[in-house]
Symmetry: C2
Subunit: 107 residues, 2 copies
DNA sequence: TTCTTATATGACTATACAATCATATATGCC
DNA sequence: GGCATATATGATTGTATAGTCATATAAGAA
């Protein structure tokens, strides 16, 4: 299923980037419009717009139009679960590495 | 915590690529040496070696030397959980899109 | 219709990434 | 030491990606 793998990779890529992670974090509280998102994550409007489009195209964000404003939201709860598990990995890695440093310092 | 975001992104990037996903899938059954991995996933030895190094550097694979052979294994169970959740997203997306096509075909 | 605000996009630059080929290094065996 | 096998890496190429700036488009308000 290598074609499936390519869709899988695209979904994961939609989260595997610092700016996009900031967007996902900000959307934990629910739907937000672009004009709220880009100041909150401290990125340019155009850059934010591109990332939002990318994430929507790859199926992890929903998009809703209301007048001039466009509201984006995280579409699948698994997105947060994935970020949380990746965070757990980072945390454990940091712990493991600092333990290793302690062991080395003791000789 | 934007510096944390960058580590997080790196961990997710370690899975967000078709060849690396093939490696993760193959390692579901446990530790394997490079000489078993690259024929199984049908990639060049050198390319496989680079991806394995990348994944180990970013903390998602462990590496063990035994004679000439190097054994790699998935280090954190969360890696599989992440892939499984991403798979669930892809599956749901495919379902949603095919439903949409059905609705459109009915007018 | 004109102005303002919100969002998207074209053109560009710089950087990162994946893959390949050839070669280097390491280990064990004879 | 010389050879075979396993793995890693340098050099290169082509492609993808992130970010920026300027501009286009769309909607609503005056």
């Amino acid at each position: 299923m290598s074609s499936t793998n390519s869709y899988l990779a695209d979904v994961l890529k939609s989260m595997a980037q610092a700016t996009r992670l900031k967007i996902v974090e900000f959307l934990r509280d629910g739907e937000r419009c672009v004009c709220e998102i880009f100041p909150a994550i401290d990125e340019e409007q155009s850059n934010t717009s591109r990332h939002l489009a990318y994430m929507q195209t790859h199926g992890i964000l929903s998009r809703r139009k209301e007048g001039v404003k466009i509201y984006y939201a995280v579409k699948h709860p698994e997105v947060f679960e994935i970020v949380d598990r990746a965070t757990a990995i980072v945390k454990r890695e940091v712990e493991m590495r600092s333990e290793l440093i302690n062991v080395m310092e003791r000789g």
